[in-house]
Symmetry: C2
Amino acid sequence: MLKIAVDAMGGDFAPEVNILGAIEAASDSEIEIILVGEENKINEFLKDRKDLKGKISILHVEEQVGMDETVSTAIRRKNTSMKKAIELVKEGNAQAVLSAGNSGAMMALSLLLLGKLPNVDRPAIATVMPSLKGHFILLDAGANVDCKAEHLLQFAYMGNAYHKALFNSTSPKIALLSIGEEATKGNEATKEAFRLLKSSKLNFIGNIEGKDIFFGSADVVVCDGFVGNIVLKVGEGLAEALMKMLKREVTEIITGRLGYMMIKPAIKSFRKKVDYSEYGGALLLGINGTSIICHGRSSAKAIKNAIKVAAEMAKKEIYKTISESLEHMEEINESTNSFNRLLCS
Amino acid sequence: MLKIAVDAMGGDFAPEVNILGAIEAASDSEIEIILVGEENKINEFLKDRKDLKGKISILHVEEQVGMDETVSTAIRRKNTSMKKAIELVKEGNAQAVLSAGNSGAMMALSLLLLGKLPNVDRPAIATVMPSLKGHFILLDAGANVDCKAEHLLQFAYMGNAYHKALFNSTSPKIALLSIGEEATKGNEATKEAFRLLKSSKLNFIGNIEGKDIFFGSADVVVCDGFVGNIVLKVGEGLAEALMKMLKREVTEIITGRLGYMMIKPAIKSFRKKVDYSEYGGALLLGINGTSIICHGRSSAKAIKNAIKVAAEMAKKEIYKTISESLEHMEEINESTNSFNRLLCS
């Protein structure tokens, strides 16, 4: 049995979607859920569900982290649902934790309470995004704003391990997000990272440009957290804006309204595919434990998916795999460095 | 009469679209065009058009810059259509130049031959992008990959002047692209740029997140060239991928095909609105002259639009306005610096 701690109070539609998502996920025989938050509010949704006894329990915590609270304030507070949920993992009373609340605070608290893995300099946020061929992993999606080449290399190793665990792949194609395919295109950090990745043991396919990421040529797209967060949010905003523009155009022509009615089921299914709140949240890679950050606007289904991903990653102990793969990276780096020293001496 | 030099040989569909675009633009009574490139090839399109005498002339140049040529090679070559077209502006024989060819080479050659404006540290590429409320200017879209806060401040001043000239606006809303709205969110450069912009005389509305740029709350969105280029290309790629995904969904449902037929005119008109090859290219800001880089895949219509924008910007002598606005910036900066020195002393 895998115990998953859910911050019941985090997110724009909390606690409702978190509880409903937890109820759905609890139908999985391997999953047990601990909802952390205000008992009264949570019980409103659970009172008629005696069937869930033993599957869902409540850890009563009165306070919660505000969505706009600064990270430094959130860290100092002792009794928030987010903190207590993470502590359940720290103390071994849960195997994974997730929250749709303040993502900066979730990142910082996970790092603070669970600690970094050995060999990791900077933990990263990995998100799963849709492409024409399925999905790709983008990282870092916002944890580290100013990155060195070595950090990008670490992200690549972590993304590689995550892709293998999530999609059962054997040799994911790793690409570096840049402004041209040639090794000479990019900024200081990416140009150096290109060199490091080229001499790594990863299946590095080179630089990838922004226009190509959604066509599925890469399985893992590596970038710094500033760029990654902007890409993620540009994608989110553009998809929404495009659908609005399209609808506006459609309703302006005579046959448009009827035509739109006819394709509506397709638009609905399309929206689900591109709405990454459906994808079960972003995993924190490089943390000594399984911690997932969900989109603030997550639906109950998104929470359910996130709980399932959390359970799967906890079961596979992905964080241990990551630690091992980074150990391996150290070896490679060591030998490259020795080689470079040889060349320069 | 405004003379516009067009690199006839630049771009994926050269010389055809360049010549057809020039012919369309030549119907404007104020515009005269010099097509620079292989006379034989150009004349194929012009031979039956005696009506264009005096409106379109040809400067025969045999060589051209390859799309994949490195900038350093392109710069060294003496007789390319791109170089000769820019030289026409340098020598005062044309008021503006445009090319849909190798954009890195066009940027470098324009800078080299026309020179930087006084007060400008780094010229920038400014692109016009569609939003739900109309358009916004994004800069830098790829000229400068590693930027300091001072460069971002200069981009803001240049974008401000460009928006005023292009859209006849009086006080464009300037925003800084970042990963959160608060002043404390961002990387080293944007956090410092936020401070500089806050104390500038610009209508600075603060940080803007990636998801909001397409909703039209800012008129000018400022970022470094690495981020800008990625945003531009993510936008381009995502729009294309989304339309493909939508079409795939639509053709999978029974009523879909018919419905799609009915909304097709709307999709066509929508595509035009979001296809920024329609927007007349990207202006190089900070160069001592008017130089426009068009998308490699520009259509004849895009070239026509770019020629018109080139003529308008040349007529308004936008580069002089930019130089003046930066002079003004220097004054502001000077007084801010004195103020800061006062505070720290």
